[in-house]
Protein backbone atom coordinates (compact mmCIF):
# COMPACT_ATOMS: atom_id res chain seq x y z
CA UNK A 1 0.00 0.00 0.00
CA UNK A 2 1.24 3.42 -0.88
CA UNK A 3 0.64 6.44 1.30
CA UNK A 4 -2.63 8.35 1.23
CA UNK A 5 -2.86 10.87 -1.57
CA UNK A 6 -2.38 14.50 -0.67
CA UNK A 7 -2.25 17.47 -2.94
CA UNK A 8 1.53 17.47 -2.96
CA UNK A 9 1.88 13.75 -3.59
CA UNK A 10 -0.52 13.81 -6.49
CA UNK A 11 1.72 15.50 -9.01
CA UNK A 12 2.93 12.20 -10.46
CA UNK A 13 1.07 10.91 -13.52
CA UNK A 14 -1.32 7.98 -13.39
CA UNK A 15 1.05 5.69 -15.20
CA UNK A 16 3.44 5.81 -12.29
CA UNK A 17 0.83 5.24 -9.59
CA UNK A 18 0.73 1.69 -8.38
CA UNK A 19 -2.63 0.14 -7.69
CA UNK A 20 -3.61 -0.09 -4.05
CA UNK A 21 -3.47 3.28 -2.35
CA UNK A 22 -5.13 2.30 0.89
CA UNK A 23 -8.72 2.57 -0.36
CA UNK A 24 -10.97 0.22 1.60
CA UNK A 25 -14.50 -0.91 0.90
CA UNK A 26 -15.79 -1.84 4.34
CA UNK A 27 -18.97 -2.44 6.26
CA UNK A 28 -18.44 -0.23 9.27
CA UNK A 29 -20.27 -0.65 12.56
CA UNK A 30 -22.28 2.41 13.54
CA UNK A 31 -21.37 3.49 17.08
CA UNK A 32 -23.66 6.51 17.26
CA UNK A 33 -25.54 8.91 15.05
CA UNK A 34 -26.87 11.96 16.78
CA UNK A 35 -28.15 15.46 16.17
CA UNK A 36 -25.64 18.21 16.75
CA UNK A 37 -28.08 21.06 16.19
CA UNK A 38 -31.25 21.46 14.18
CA UNK A 39 -29.49 20.92 10.82
CA UNK A 40 -26.46 18.73 11.47
CA UNK A 41 -25.89 15.14 12.56
CA UNK A 42 -22.72 13.46 13.74
CA UNK A 43 -22.18 9.88 12.61
CA UNK A 44 -19.54 7.83 14.40
CA UNK A 45 -18.46 4.49 12.98
CA UNK A 46 -15.85 1.87 13.74
CA UNK A 47 -13.62 1.36 10.70
CA UNK A 48 -10.04 0.64 11.70
CA UNK A 49 -8.57 0.40 8.19
CA UNK A 50 -9.99 3.69 6.93
CA UNK A 51 -9.28 5.36 10.28
CA UNK A 52 -5.60 4.56 9.75
CA UNK A 53 -5.37 5.78 6.18
CA UNK A 54 -7.51 8.90 5.94
CA UNK A 55 -5.93 12.33 5.70
CA UNK A 56 -7.74 15.63 6.28
CA UNK A 57 -9.53 16.71 3.11
CA UNK A 58 -10.10 13.19 1.86
CA UNK A 59 -13.63 11.82 1.76
CA UNK A 60 -15.59 8.60 1.92
CA UNK A 61 -18.31 7.39 -0.41
CA UNK A 62 -21.20 6.23 1.74
CA UNK A 63 -23.98 3.84 0.81
CA UNK A 64 -27.01 5.56 2.29
CA UNK A 65 -29.73 3.24 3.59
CA UNK A 66 -33.08 2.89 1.86
CA UNK A 67 -35.89 4.04 4.10
CA UNK A 68 -39.66 3.86 3.85
CA UNK A 69 -39.69 7.06 1.76
CA UNK A 70 -36.31 7.16 0.06
CA UNK A 71 -34.26 4.75 -1.99
CA UNK A 72 -31.00 6.61 -2.68
CA UNK A 73 -29.30 4.72 -5.49
CA UNK A 74 -25.85 6.24 -5.71
CA UNK A 75 -23.43 6.60 -2.82
CA UNK A 76 -22.94 10.04 -1.24
CA UNK A 77 -19.57 11.70 -0.60
CA UNK A 78 -18.78 12.88 2.94
CA UNK A 79 -15.62 14.45 4.27
CA UNK A 80 -13.59 12.80 6.98
CA UNK A 81 -14.59 14.79 10.04
CA UNK A 82 -12.34 12.65 12.20
CA UNK A 83 -10.21 9.57 11.53
CA UNK A 84 -8.51 8.25 14.61
CA UNK A 85 -5.94 5.50 13.99
CA UNK A 86 -5.80 4.66 17.70
CA UNK A 87 -9.47 4.01 18.34
CA UNK A 88 -10.29 2.99 14.75
CA UNK A 89 -13.11 5.51 14.74
CA UNK A 90 -14.21 7.59 11.75
CA UNK A 91 -16.69 10.46 12.10
CA UNK A 92 -18.88 12.35 9.64
CA UNK A 93 -20.63 15.65 10.27
CA UNK A 94 -23.49 15.98 7.84
CA UNK A 95 -26.42 18.13 7.01
CA UNK A 96 -29.72 16.35 6.33
CA UNK A 97 -30.77 17.74 2.98
CA UNK A 98 -32.16 15.03 0.68
CA UNK A 99 -32.76 11.35 0.08
CA UNK A 100 -29.22 10.22 0.83
CA UNK A 101 -28.65 12.19 3.99
CA UNK A 102 -32.15 11.32 5.23
CA UNK A 103 -31.10 7.70 4.76
CA UNK A 104 -27.90 8.32 6.72
CA UNK A 105 -29.92 9.93 9.47
CA UNK A 106 -31.91 6.70 9.83
CA UNK A 107 -28.84 4.74 10.97
CA UNK A 108 -28.72 3.75 14.62
CA UNK A 109 -25.98 2.28 16.75
CA UNK A 110 -25.46 -1.35 15.81
CA UNK A 111 -26.31 -0.85 12.13
CA UNK A 112 -23.71 -1.25 9.43
CA UNK A 113 -22.66 1.31 6.84
CA UNK A 114 -20.87 0.46 3.59
CA UNK A 115 -18.15 3.03 3.13
CA UNK A 116 -15.54 3.31 0.42
CA UNK A 117 -12.42 5.30 1.09
CA UNK A 118 -10.52 7.31 1.96
CA UNK A 119 -10.81 8.82 -1.49
CA UNK A 120 -9.36 11.78 -3.29
CA UNK A 121 -6.57 14.19 -2.60
CA UNK A 122 -6.28 15.60 0.93
CA UNK A 123 -4.77 18.83 2.25
CA UNK A 124 -0.98 19.21 2.18
CA UNK A 125 1.07 21.23 4.66
CA UNK A 126 4.40 22.67 3.56
CA UNK A 127 7.25 22.16 6.04
CA UNK A 128 8.00 25.90 6.27
CA UNK A 129 4.52 27.06 7.25
CA UNK A 130 4.18 28.22 10.87
CA UNK A 131 0.66 29.68 10.91
CA UNK A 132 -2.31 28.86 8.74
CA UNK A 133 -5.78 30.35 8.45
CA UNK A 134 -8.82 28.14 7.94
CA UNK A 135 -12.03 29.82 6.88
CA UNK A 136 -15.17 27.74 6.72
CA UNK A 137 -18.89 27.73 6.83
CA UNK A 138 -21.49 25.02 7.43
CA UNK A 139 -20.34 21.53 6.64
CA UNK A 140 -17.18 23.07 5.21
CA UNK A 141 -15.99 22.97 8.79
CA UNK A 142 -16.31 19.19 8.78
CA UNK A 143 -13.52 19.24 6.22
CA UNK A 144 -11.37 21.85 7.98
CA UNK A 145 -11.49 20.55 11.58
CA UNK A 146 -9.18 17.57 10.95
CA UNK A 147 -6.86 19.85 8.96
CA UNK A 148 -6.44 22.01 12.03
CA UNK A 149 -5.53 18.93 14.03
CA UNK A 150 -3.05 17.81 11.39
CA UNK A 151 -1.46 21.27 11.53
CA UNK A 152 -1.31 21.26 15.31
CA UNK A 153 0.41 17.86 15.24
CA UNK A 154 3.13 19.46 13.15
CA UNK A 155 3.36 22.49 15.42
CA UNK A 156 1.71 24.79 12.96
CA UNK A 157 -0.50 27.47 14.52
CA UNK A 158 -4.11 27.72 13.37
CA UNK A 159 -6.52 30.62 13.19
CA UNK A 160 -10.04 29.38 12.52
CA UNK A 161 -12.56 31.80 11.08
CA UNK A 162 -15.95 30.18 11.51
CA UNK A 163 -18.87 31.61 9.60
CA UNK A 164 -22.47 30.79 10.43
CA UNK A 165 -26.01 32.10 10.18
CA UNK A 166 -26.28 32.61 13.91
CA UNK A 167 -24.74 31.41 17.13
CA UNK A 168 -26.85 28.21 17.12
CA UNK A 169 -25.43 27.15 13.78
CA UNK A 170 -21.78 27.50 14.83
CA UNK A 171 -20.06 24.15 14.45
CA UNK A 172 -16.89 22.44 15.63
CA UNK A 173 -15.60 25.15 18.00
CA UNK A 174 -14.49 22.62 20.64
CA UNK A 175 -12.47 20.75 18.01
CA UNK A 176 -10.55 23.91 17.11
CA UNK A 177 -10.29 25.00 20.73
CA UNK A 178 -8.82 21.64 21.75
CA UNK A 179 -5.75 22.19 19.60
CA UNK A 180 -5.35 25.73 20.84
CA UNK A 181 -6.49 27.44 17.67
CA UNK A 182 -7.39 31.10 17.75
CA UNK A 183 -11.10 31.20 16.94
CA UNK A 184 -12.97 34.00 15.21
CA UNK A 185 -16.71 33.57 14.83
CA UNK A 186 -18.50 35.65 12.22
CA UNK A 187 -22.27 35.62 11.97
CA UNK A 188 -24.94 36.62 9.48
CA UNK A 189 -27.13 37.63 12.41
CA UNK A 190 -24.87 40.50 13.45
CA UNK A 191 -23.43 41.28 10.02
CA UNK A 192 -19.94 40.14 10.96
CA UNK A 193 -19.93 37.44 8.28
CA UNK A 194 -20.07 40.01 5.48
CA UNK A 195 -17.29 39.84 2.91
CA UNK A 196 -16.07 43.29 3.99
CA UNK A 197 -15.77 42.35 7.60
CA UNK A 198 -14.14 38.98 6.92
CA UNK A 199 -11.71 40.72 4.56
CA UNK A 200 -10.65 43.12 7.33
CA UNK A 201 -10.27 40.16 9.68
CA UNK A 202 -8.07 38.21 7.26
CA UNK A 203 -5.92 41.27 6.57
CA UNK A 204 -5.42 41.73 10.30
CA UNK A 205 -4.41 38.08 10.73
CA UNK A 206 -2.00 38.49 7.85
CA UNK A 207 -0.58 41.68 9.34
CA UNK A 208 -0.03 39.79 12.57
CA UNK A 209 2.10 37.30 10.60
CA UNK A 210 -0.30 34.43 11.15
CA UNK A 211 -1.20 33.70 7.54
CA UNK A 212 1.43 31.56 5.85
CA UNK A 213 -1.35 29.74 4.03
CA UNK A 214 -5.10 29.99 3.46
CA UNK A 215 -7.56 27.10 3.58
CA UNK A 216 -11.25 27.25 2.88
CA UNK A 217 -14.31 25.13 2.31
CA UNK A 218 -18.08 25.51 2.20
CA UNK A 219 -18.76 28.95 0.74
CA UNK A 220 -18.22 30.25 -2.76
CA UNK A 221 -18.29 33.84 -1.57
CA UNK A 222 -15.62 33.30 1.07
CA UNK A 223 -13.52 31.20 -1.32
CA UNK A 224 -13.47 34.10 -3.82
CA UNK A 225 -12.47 36.49 -1.07
CA UNK A 226 -9.60 34.30 0.12
CA UNK A 227 -8.48 33.75 -3.46
CA UNK A 228 -8.36 37.50 -4.13
CA UNK A 229 -6.52 38.24 -0.90
CA UNK A 230 -4.16 35.30 -1.39
CA UNK A 231 -3.31 36.57 -4.83
CA UNK A 232 -2.80 40.14 -3.62
CA UNK A 233 -0.81 39.21 -0.54
CA UNK A 234 1.11 36.31 -2.08
CA UNK A 235 -0.35 33.74 0.28
CA UNK A 236 -0.60 30.12 -0.92
CA UNK A 237 -3.94 28.45 -0.43
CA UNK A 238 -6.00 25.33 -0.81
CA UNK A 239 -9.74 24.88 -1.23
CA UNK A 240 -11.82 21.76 -0.72
CA UNK A 241 -14.60 21.63 -3.28
CA UNK A 242 -17.86 19.81 -3.67
CA UNK A 243 -19.56 18.46 -6.73
CA UNK A 244 -22.16 15.79 -7.32
CA UNK A 245 -20.50 12.38 -7.61
CA UNK A 246 -21.40 9.00 -8.97
CA UNK A 247 -18.33 6.74 -8.76
CA UNK A 248 -16.02 8.68 -6.43
CA UNK A 249 -13.04 6.99 -8.08
CA UNK A 250 -12.33 9.17 -11.09
CA UNK A 251 -14.13 6.86 -13.51
CA UNK A 252 -17.33 8.59 -14.55
CA UNK A 253 -16.30 12.23 -15.08
CA UNK A 254 -19.53 13.60 -13.62
CA UNK A 255 -17.88 15.58 -10.83
CA UNK A 256 -15.91 18.01 -12.95
CA UNK A 257 -15.38 21.68 -12.22
CA UNK A 258 -13.49 24.31 -14.17
CA UNK A 259 -10.08 25.52 -13.05
CA UNK A 260 -7.88 28.31 -14.34
CA UNK A 261 -4.40 27.03 -15.01
CA UNK A 262 -1.92 29.31 -16.74
CA UNK A 263 -4.60 31.36 -18.48
CA UNK A 264 -6.47 28.29 -19.71
CA UNK A 265 -9.66 26.75 -18.35
CA UNK A 266 -9.22 23.09 -17.54
CA UNK A 267 -11.77 20.63 -16.29
CA UNK A 268 -10.88 18.49 -13.29
CA UNK A 269 -12.60 15.72 -11.40
CA UNK A 270 -13.36 16.76 -7.83
CA UNK A 271 -13.25 13.13 -6.63
CA UNK A 272 -9.92 12.23 -8.15
CA UNK A 273 -7.94 15.39 -8.85
CA UNK A 274 -9.42 16.89 -5.65
CA UNK A 275 -11.49 17.53 -3.61
CA UNK A 276 -8.58 19.73 -2.42
CA UNK A 277 -7.25 22.09 -5.11
CA UNK A 278 -4.87 25.03 -5.23
CA UNK A 279 -6.92 28.04 -4.18
CA UNK A 280 -5.47 30.16 -6.99
CA UNK A 281 -6.82 27.80 -9.64
CA UNK A 282 -10.40 27.52 -8.39
CA UNK A 283 -13.26 29.24 -10.21
CA UNK A 284 -16.57 30.44 -8.88
CA UNK A 285 -19.24 27.74 -8.51
Amino acid sequence: MTAARTMAANTAGNALRLPGSGVDDVRALVLSNERVNDSYNLLVVEAPGPARNAVAGQFFHLQCPTTGEDAPYLRRPMSTYRADPQSGVVEFLYKVSGAGTRGLASLVAGDYLSMLGPLGVGFALEPDWRHIVVLGRGVGLATLAPLAEMAAARNIGVTAVISARDQDQVLSVPRFAAIGARIEIVLDSDGSSSVDHVERLLRRIHTEGHADAFFTCGSNRLMLLMQRLGDELGIAGQVAMEQQMACGLGMCHCCVRDFRVGGETVSRRVCWDGPVFPLAEATSW
Binding site: L74, G250, M251, H253
Partner: protein
Protein backbone atom coordinates in the same frame (compact mmCIF):
# COMPACT_ATOMS: atom_id res chain seq x y z
CA UNK B 1 -14.59 -26.78 -10.61
CA UNK B 2 -16.59 -24.75 -13.08
CA UNK B 3 -14.80 -23.84 -16.31
CA UNK B 4 -15.26 -20.07 -16.36
CA UNK B 5 -13.53 -19.42 -19.68
CA UNK B 6 -15.39 -17.97 -22.64
CA UNK B 7 -14.36 -17.15 -26.19
CA UNK B 8 -15.35 -13.90 -27.85
CA UNK B 9 -14.48 -14.58 -31.44
CA UNK B 10 -10.75 -15.28 -31.41
CA UNK B 11 -10.24 -13.81 -27.97
CA UNK B 12 -10.19 -16.15 -24.96
CA UNK B 13 -11.30 -14.62 -21.67
CA UNK B 14 -10.68 -16.18 -18.26
CA UNK B 15 -14.28 -15.39 -17.35
CA UNK B 16 -17.22 -13.63 -19.01
CA UNK B 17 -17.26 -10.50 -16.83
CA UNK B 18 -15.84 -7.12 -17.78
CA UNK B 19 -16.59 -3.45 -17.16
CA UNK B 20 -18.80 -1.32 -19.39
CA UNK B 21 -17.03 1.54 -21.09
CA UNK B 22 -17.14 4.80 -19.15
CA UNK B 23 -17.70 3.13 -15.80
CA UNK B 24 -14.15 1.91 -15.33
CA UNK B 25 -10.77 3.59 -15.00
CA UNK B 26 -7.46 3.53 -13.24
CA UNK B 27 -8.93 4.57 -9.90
CA UNK B 28 -10.79 1.30 -9.47
CA UNK B 29 -7.47 -0.51 -9.27
CA UNK B 30 -7.18 0.90 -5.75
CA UNK B 31 -10.14 -1.30 -4.78
CA UNK B 32 -10.46 -4.21 -7.22
CA UNK B 33 -7.86 -6.63 -8.55
CA UNK B 34 -7.96 -6.03 -12.30
CA UNK B 35 -6.25 -9.38 -12.90
CA UNK B 36 -9.49 -11.09 -11.87
CA UNK B 37 -11.52 -9.48 -14.66
CA UNK B 38 -12.39 -11.28 -17.87
CA UNK B 39 -11.30 -8.15 -19.71
CA UNK B 40 -10.73 -4.44 -19.12
CA UNK B 41 -12.66 -1.94 -21.24
CA UNK B 42 -11.58 1.70 -21.39
CA UNK B 43 -13.76 4.78 -21.39
CA UNK B 44 -14.40 5.70 -25.01
CA UNK B 45 -11.47 7.67 -26.41
CA UNK B 46 -11.39 10.01 -29.37
CA UNK B 47 -8.43 11.13 -31.39
CA UNK B 48 -9.02 14.77 -30.58
CA UNK B 49 -9.39 16.59 -27.25
CA UNK B 50 -12.99 16.87 -26.14
CA UNK B 51 -14.51 18.55 -23.13
CA UNK B 52 -17.76 16.70 -22.46
CA UNK B 53 -21.11 18.17 -21.48
CA UNK B 54 -22.35 20.74 -18.97
CA UNK B 55 -22.92 19.76 -15.35
CA UNK B 56 -24.98 18.34 -13.72
CA UNK B 57 -23.86 15.33 -15.69
CA UNK B 58 -25.69 12.68 -13.71
CA UNK B 59 -29.07 12.40 -12.06
CA UNK B 60 -30.32 9.63 -9.87
CA UNK B 61 -33.69 8.19 -10.77
CA UNK B 62 -35.56 5.38 -9.08
CA UNK B 63 -33.45 2.31 -9.70
CA UNK B 64 -31.13 3.85 -12.19
CA UNK B 65 -28.92 6.62 -13.38
CA UNK B 66 -29.22 9.28 -16.04
CA UNK B 67 -25.96 10.57 -17.44
CA UNK B 68 -24.88 13.11 -19.96
CA UNK B 69 -21.15 12.87 -19.43
CA UNK B 70 -20.46 13.07 -23.12
CA UNK B 71 -17.04 11.87 -24.16
CA UNK B 72 -14.50 14.12 -22.49
CA UNK B 73 -11.20 12.91 -23.90
CA UNK B 74 -7.60 13.89 -23.44
CA UNK B 75 -6.94 12.64 -26.94
CA UNK B 76 -5.01 9.74 -28.42
CA UNK B 77 -1.53 10.88 -27.48
CA UNK B 78 -2.37 11.10 -23.81
CA UNK B 79 -3.98 7.69 -24.03
CA UNK B 80 -0.91 6.13 -25.57
CA UNK B 81 1.57 7.75 -23.21
CA UNK B 82 -0.37 7.56 -19.92
CA UNK B 83 -3.35 5.24 -19.99
CA UNK B 84 -2.06 2.34 -22.03
CA UNK B 85 1.11 1.83 -19.91
CA UNK B 86 -1.06 1.76 -16.80
CA UNK B 87 -3.21 -1.08 -18.13
CA UNK B 88 -0.17 -3.01 -19.38
CA UNK B 89 0.54 -3.77 -15.72
CA UNK B 90 -2.37 -6.23 -15.74
CA UNK B 91 -2.78 -9.62 -17.36
CA UNK B 92 -6.45 -9.21 -18.33
CA UNK B 93 -6.95 -8.34 -22.01
CA UNK B 94 -7.52 -4.66 -22.69
CA UNK B 95 -10.38 -3.57 -24.92
CA UNK B 96 -10.14 0.00 -26.14
CA UNK B 97 -13.44 1.75 -26.77
CA UNK B 98 -13.23 4.32 -29.54
CA UNK B 99 -15.42 6.93 -31.12
CA UNK B 100 -15.13 9.35 -33.98
CA UNK B 101 -17.38 11.77 -35.82
CA UNK B 102 -17.05 10.08 -39.23
CA UNK B 103 -16.49 6.56 -40.51
CA UNK B 104 -13.11 7.53 -41.92
CA UNK B 105 -11.97 9.09 -38.67
CA UNK B 106 -13.07 5.91 -36.88
CA UNK B 107 -10.88 3.87 -39.20
CA UNK B 108 -7.86 6.12 -38.76
CA UNK B 109 -8.15 5.92 -34.98
CA UNK B 110 -8.50 2.13 -35.02
CA UNK B 111 -5.47 1.88 -37.27
CA UNK B 112 -3.34 3.69 -34.72
CA UNK B 113 -4.34 1.28 -31.96
CA UNK B 114 -2.84 -1.89 -33.42
CA UNK B 115 -0.40 -2.05 -30.52
CA UNK B 116 0.93 -4.50 -27.96
CA UNK B 117 -1.28 -4.52 -24.90
CA UNK B 118 -4.47 -3.89 -26.87
CA UNK B 119 -6.51 -7.06 -27.30
CA UNK B 120 -9.59 -5.71 -29.06
CA UNK B 121 -11.36 -2.57 -30.25
CA UNK B 122 -14.87 -1.74 -29.10
CA UNK B 123 -16.41 0.67 -31.59
CA UNK B 124 -18.85 2.88 -29.71
CA UNK B 125 -21.07 3.44 -32.72
CA UNK B 126 -23.81 4.75 -30.47
CA UNK B 127 -22.24 8.18 -30.75
CA UNK B 128 -23.38 10.84 -33.21
CA UNK B 129 -22.34 10.59 -36.82
CA UNK B 130 -21.82 14.13 -38.04
CA UNK B 131 -22.35 12.99 -41.62
CA UNK B 132 -25.84 11.76 -40.70
CA UNK B 133 -27.21 14.86 -39.03
CA UNK B 134 -25.87 13.77 -35.68
CA UNK B 135 -27.77 10.51 -35.66
CA UNK B 136 -25.72 7.75 -34.08
CA UNK B 137 -24.13 5.33 -36.53
CA UNK B 138 -25.90 2.42 -34.83
CA UNK B 139 -29.34 3.97 -35.38
CA UNK B 140 -29.40 2.49 -38.88
CA UNK B 141 -28.12 -0.64 -40.56
CA UNK B 142 -26.68 1.39 -43.43
CA UNK B 143 -24.41 3.67 -41.42
CA UNK B 144 -23.45 0.76 -39.15
CA UNK B 145 -22.41 -1.21 -42.17
CA UNK B 146 -20.42 1.67 -43.56
CA UNK B 147 -18.43 2.41 -40.41
CA UNK B 148 -17.82 -1.24 -39.52
CA UNK B 149 -16.52 -2.02 -43.00
CA UNK B 150 -14.00 0.81 -42.78
CA UNK B 151 -12.97 -0.28 -39.32
CA UNK B 152 -12.57 -3.88 -40.49
CA UNK B 153 -10.29 -2.76 -43.29
CA UNK B 154 -8.22 -0.62 -40.94
CA UNK B 155 -7.58 -3.10 -38.15
CA UNK B 156 -6.84 -6.78 -37.75
CA UNK B 157 -7.67 -6.67 -34.05
CA UNK B 158 -10.90 -8.28 -32.86
CA UNK B 159 -13.59 -5.69 -33.50
CA UNK B 160 -16.63 -5.29 -31.28
CA UNK B 161 -19.58 -3.11 -32.26
CA UNK B 162 -21.43 -1.45 -29.39
CA UNK B 163 -25.04 -0.93 -30.40
CA UNK B 164 -27.55 1.64 -29.26
CA UNK B 165 -30.92 0.62 -27.81
CA UNK B 166 -32.46 3.79 -29.24
CA UNK B 167 -32.85 2.32 -32.71
CA UNK B 168 -36.18 0.88 -33.77
CA UNK B 169 -34.57 -2.14 -35.36
CA UNK B 170 -31.69 -3.45 -33.32
CA UNK B 171 -31.77 -6.78 -35.13
CA UNK B 172 -31.14 -5.21 -38.53
CA UNK B 173 -28.28 -3.17 -37.07
CA UNK B 174 -26.83 -6.30 -35.43
CA UNK B 175 -26.93 -8.17 -38.72
CA UNK B 176 -25.33 -5.23 -40.53
CA UNK B 177 -22.47 -5.16 -38.03
CA UNK B 178 -21.95 -8.89 -38.39
CA UNK B 179 -22.00 -8.75 -42.17
CA UNK B 180 -19.48 -5.91 -42.13
CA UNK B 181 -17.04 -8.06 -40.18
CA UNK B 182 -17.62 -7.37 -36.49
CA UNK B 183 -16.26 -10.13 -34.26
CA UNK B 184 -18.77 -9.45 -31.49
CA UNK B 185 -21.63 -7.14 -30.54
CA UNK B 186 -22.03 -5.25 -27.30
CA UNK B 187 -25.75 -4.88 -26.53
CA UNK B 188 -26.13 -2.09 -25.59
CA UNK B 189 -25.38 1.52 -24.71
CA UNK B 190 -27.71 3.73 -22.64
CA UNK B 191 -31.33 4.61 -23.49
CA UNK B 192 -32.07 8.27 -24.17
CA UNK B 193 -34.13 9.65 -21.29
CA UNK B 194 -34.86 12.75 -19.26
CA UNK B 195 -36.06 13.86 -15.89
CA UNK B 196 -37.27 17.19 -14.54
CA UNK B 197 -37.05 18.56 -11.04
CA UNK B 198 -40.60 19.67 -10.31
CA UNK B 199 -39.53 22.15 -7.65
CA UNK B 200 -37.14 24.12 -9.85
CA UNK B 201 -38.81 23.10 -13.15
CA UNK B 202 -35.37 22.44 -14.54
CA UNK B 203 -34.12 19.30 -16.25
CA UNK B 204 -31.94 17.40 -13.79
CA UNK B 205 -29.14 17.24 -16.37
CA UNK B 206 -27.29 20.26 -17.70
CA UNK B 207 -27.62 18.65 -21.11
CA UNK B 208 -31.43 18.25 -20.67
CA UNK B 209 -31.46 14.69 -22.05
CA UNK B 210 -29.11 11.86 -21.17
CA UNK B 211 -28.61 8.13 -21.17
CA UNK B 212 -30.44 5.83 -18.79
CA UNK B 213 -28.55 2.92 -17.23
CA UNK B 214 -28.81 0.66 -14.22
CA UNK B 215 -31.49 -1.82 -13.10
CA UNK B 216 -34.31 0.15 -14.77
CA UNK B 217 -33.10 -0.76 -18.26
CA UNK B 218 -32.39 -4.44 -17.68
CA UNK B 219 -35.59 -6.00 -19.09
CA UNK B 220 -35.31 -3.90 -22.23
CA UNK B 221 -31.70 -4.85 -22.87
CA UNK B 222 -32.26 -8.52 -22.00
CA UNK B 223 -34.88 -8.49 -24.75
CA UNK B 224 -32.45 -6.94 -27.26
CA UNK B 225 -29.75 -9.41 -26.26
CA UNK B 226 -32.19 -12.26 -26.89
CA UNK B 227 -33.23 -10.84 -30.26
CA UNK B 228 -29.67 -10.14 -31.41
CA UNK B 229 -28.24 -13.44 -30.23
CA UNK B 230 -30.86 -15.30 -32.28
CA UNK B 231 -30.18 -13.15 -35.33
CA UNK B 232 -26.39 -13.35 -35.57
CA UNK B 233 -23.71 -16.04 -35.32
CA UNK B 234 -21.07 -13.87 -33.63
CA UNK B 235 -21.03 -13.55 -29.82
CA UNK B 236 -23.19 -10.99 -28.10
CA UNK B 237 -21.92 -9.26 -24.98
CA UNK B 238 -24.83 -8.19 -22.77
CA UNK B 239 -24.72 -4.82 -21.05
CA UNK B 240 -27.49 -3.00 -19.21
CA UNK B 241 -28.46 -3.05 -15.58
CA UNK B 242 -26.35 -5.98 -14.49
CA UNK B 243 -25.79 -5.66 -10.75
CA UNK B 244 -25.38 -9.22 -9.53
CA UNK B 245 -24.71 -12.76 -10.70
CA UNK B 246 -28.39 -13.46 -11.18
CA UNK B 247 -28.61 -10.60 -13.67
CA UNK B 248 -25.55 -11.98 -15.48
CA UNK B 249 -27.12 -15.45 -15.66
CA UNK B 250 -30.29 -13.89 -17.07
CA UNK B 251 -28.32 -12.17 -19.85
CA UNK B 252 -26.34 -15.33 -20.62
CA UNK B 253 -29.49 -17.46 -20.78
CA UNK B 254 -30.93 -14.85 -23.15
CA UNK B 255 -27.94 -15.39 -25.43
CA UNK B 256 -25.00 -13.35 -24.13
CA UNK B 257 -21.56 -14.96 -24.32
CA UNK B 258 -20.19 -12.44 -21.84
CA UNK B 259 -21.43 -9.45 -19.86
CA UNK B 260 -20.40 -5.92 -19.02
CA UNK B 261 -21.11 -4.36 -15.66
CA UNK B 262 -21.50 -0.58 -15.66
CA UNK B 263 -23.42 1.58 -13.23
CA UNK B 264 -23.48 -1.15 -10.59
CA UNK B 265 -19.76 -0.57 -10.00
CA UNK B 266 -20.53 2.98 -8.87
CA UNK B 267 -22.80 1.64 -6.15
CA UNK B 268 -20.73 -1.41 -5.29
CA UNK B 269 -17.11 -1.17 -6.45
CA UNK B 270 -16.70 -4.94 -6.14
CA UNK B 271 -19.76 -5.65 -8.30
CA UNK B 272 -17.71 -7.27 -11.09
CA UNK B 273 -15.82 -9.69 -8.88
CA UNK B 274 -19.04 -10.48 -7.03
CA UNK B 275 -20.65 -11.33 -10.36
CA UNK B 276 -17.71 -13.61 -11.23
CA UNK B 277 -17.93 -15.43 -7.90
CA UNK B 278 -21.70 -15.63 -8.10
CA UNK B 279 -21.65 -17.02 -11.64
CA UNK B 280 -19.29 -19.78 -10.55
CA UNK B 281 -21.51 -20.54 -7.56
CA UNK B 282 -24.64 -20.64 -9.74
CA UNK B 283 -22.99 -23.06 -12.17
CA UNK B 284 -21.75 -25.26 -9.34
CA UNK B 285 -25.20 -25.33 -7.72
CA UNK B 286 -26.94 -26.10 -10.98
CA UNK B 287 -24.39 -28.67 -12.15
CA UNK B 288 -23.28 -26.58 -15.12
CA UNK B 289 -19.68 -27.54 -15.94
CA UNK B 290 -18.84 -24.64 -18.24
CA UNK B 291 -20.19 -21.16 -17.77
CA UNK B 292 -20.28 -20.92 -21.57
CA UNK B 293 -23.06 -23.52 -21.55
CA UNK B 294 -25.40 -20.91 -20.11
CA UNK B 295 -25.27 -18.89 -23.32
CA UNK B 296 -28.64 -19.02 -25.01
CA UNK B 297 -29.86 -21.80 -22.69
CA UNK B 298 -33.24 -20.18 -22.04
CA UNK B 299 -36.13 -22.54 -22.46
CA UNK B 300 -38.33 -20.84 -25.01
CA UNK B 301 -41.42 -22.63 -23.84
CA UNK B 302 -42.33 -19.96 -21.31
CA UNK B 303 -43.48 -20.77 -17.81
CA UNK B 304 -46.50 -23.02 -17.73
CA UNK B 305 -49.68 -22.39 -15.81
CA UNK B 306 -49.01 -25.21 -13.34
CA UNK B 307 -45.81 -23.57 -12.17
CA UNK B 308 -47.70 -21.19 -9.97
CA UNK B 309 -50.00 -23.76 -8.40
CA UNK B 310 -49.85 -23.62 -4.62
CA UNK B 311 -49.24 -27.10 -3.34
CA UNK B 312 -47.59 -27.75 -0.05
Amino acid sequence: MVDMGVKIGGLALANPVMPASGTFAEGLADVVDFNRLGAMVTKTITAELRSGNRVPRVAEISNGLLNSIGIPSKGLDYFLSETLPFYRQFASPLVVSISAPTADAFAVLAGRLQLPGIAAIEANISCPNIEEDGHAFAMSAASTSQVMRKLRAASSLPLWAKLTPNTGDVVAVARAAEDAGADALVVANTILAMSIDTETRRPTLGNIMGGLSGPAVKPIIVRMTYQCARAVAIPVIGCGGIADANDAVEFMLAGAAAVQVGTATFVEPHAMTQVIDGLAAYCARKGVGRVADLTGAVSDAGLRLGDTEVLP
